[in-house]
Structure formats: C-alpha cells, structure tokens
Assembly symmetry: C2
Homo-oligomer: 156 residues x 2
C-alpha cells in the first residue's frame, strides 16, 4: 500500500473537555450538544467510544478561550463532578488524500510517537486524516518526529 501522506500539522490552540461516565442511552448526546450550542461554543473534534456497564465518556475539543463557557454548559447537563477539563492539548494530524485504508499510516504514525515515548491520549480518524491528541508539552516534539517519519520537510 503506497503511503500517500501529504503533510503533518500541529494545532496547539485547543482544550479538551471529557464528560465522564455518561449514561449510554438514546438522547443523552443530544442534550449535551444542545447545551453546548446554546452556549455558543465552537467544537472541533468529538470522540465517543463504546460503553461498558452502560456508561461511556464523551470528549470534545474547543478553542482554549471558550473552555469556561463549555465547562459551565456541560456541567448543567452532567453535573460538575463529571466534567474533566484539559486546558491545553496538542492535536497532531497526518494528512493523506487517497488514504484508502488507515492501517499503514496508523502503524507508522503511532510507531514514530512510541519511539519518542510520546503518549497518545485521543485518536480520531477521517477519510483523509488521522488525528491524535498528546500532552501539550509534547506537541513540538511530536510534530518533528512525524515530519521525519513521513519525510515531510518543515516548510508546511
């Protein structure tokens, strides 16, 4: 599978909110995002995995300037003790148009971060990208190691 990666990007302007242990019942996500929309919060990534024991976590990322508004809106729905805030995150994206399958790119991307001992806290993929979130402090190092792994020079 010819790797078709065209670029690597770092966005370290966002924050992450995680709603912990929300009930996995129809309508719950709608309630949360209704409150977030009412608070006029701008959302980039939304990530939810499958539930265990009827509960799951719901994470989303927002511009750092909107974190307090987002936290207050989410707390109204799930209760303040269920809202975990990470005020600074680093989002790394590997871009590959025509990435028919994510397997090869994922292996190389996660392998490069592993070699630098950088932990992956969130993963989300799209048709043309793989996005991961790491600690804010590892953002620059993660960007450099991914540029090297995919042979992308620093002009991007």
């Amino acid at each position: 599978e010819e790797l078709v990666v065209s670029g690597v990007e770092l966005d370290d302007t966002q924050a992450r909110l995680t709603l912990l242990d929300v009930p996995d019942q129809p309508g719950y996500a709608a309630k949360v995002f209704h409150a977030i929309a009412d608070a006029d919060v701008f959302i980039d990534m939304i990530v939810q995995n499958v539930s265990t024991a009827g509960q799951t976590h719901l994470s989303f990322t927002v511009p750092r300037t909107q974190i307090e508004r987002a936290r207050a809106a989410a707390a109204k729905v799930v209760g303040a003790s269920h809202v975990a805030v990470e005020p600074q995150i680093a989002k790394l994206s590997v871009l590959g148009v025509g990435m028919r399958t994510h397997t090869g790119v994922a292996m190389r991307m996660f392998g490069a971060l592993a070699d630098k001992n950088i932990n992956i806290t969130l993963i989300n993929t799209s048709e043309v990208r793989i996005n991961v979130v790491t600690d804010f402090g590892h953002g620059r190092a993660a960007l450099e190691c991914l540029r090297t792994a995919f042979e992308i020079n620093g002009d991007y």
Copy 2:
C-alpha cells in the same frame, strides 16, 4: 451559523472491534496497529478516548469480511478476552463542507436520532463530517431520520 450539510450517508458493510482496557502507555497503539498491518487488515475508523485509571478502550472498524483476521491479530497483542467484536454495525455520516464548527450539526444530528430513540454507540468527527455508529438494525431508520432532519432528499 448557517448549516452547510450537503449529504447523509449510511455504510452498513463494516464491523467493529474494541480492545478493552488497554494500558494507556506510549507504544501500545503502535504494537496493536503493527499487528493489524501485518495481518493485511483494511481499517476505516479508529477511535480512542482518554483513559481512566491508566486504561482505555481502542476501537476500530473493518470490512465485515476481515473480522476474523483482525480479531486474531488483535488477540495476539491484548489477549483474546480483551477483544470485543461487533460483527455488524451501521455507520451514519453527515457531510458538510465548510462546517466551521460541529456544534450546530451535532445538535441536530444527535437530536434527530434521539427523537427516534436510536442509540449512538460511537462518535468520530472530521473536518467535513460527523460520523456515528448505531446498531446495524437501526441503520435504515437512522438514515431516513437524518435525511429528514437535514432536508436531504433520498436521491443520494
């Protein structure tokens, strides 16, 4: 925020694997996807949320025909008891080029599914789409209700 939704899609050809309670340590995702790549498995979505108590779940979706190969490869890394397989899923995507923020689309999408009592088991967003996974049996109903909610006629 003008909603810019251009289409709604259903893909009910995939299966989902979830690796339960994997250690949230650098290098673990690399090991998993190395094994998956060696087994020549084709991956569409990858979803991982933040960990609690040092562990997290790692889900990915594959063509239904590759589920056994994927399961065997994953079991080699995490142990068979940590691999949960959902052999049939429905992936619903709402497409919106120029979706500057996901908030409005998310609210309407999740609200429409809630009104039909359809549970959301997985969420993943990209720059131009919001993808959710529901039970396979709800795929068609979910597609119809999202077409109505976003006023997309059935020609797509």
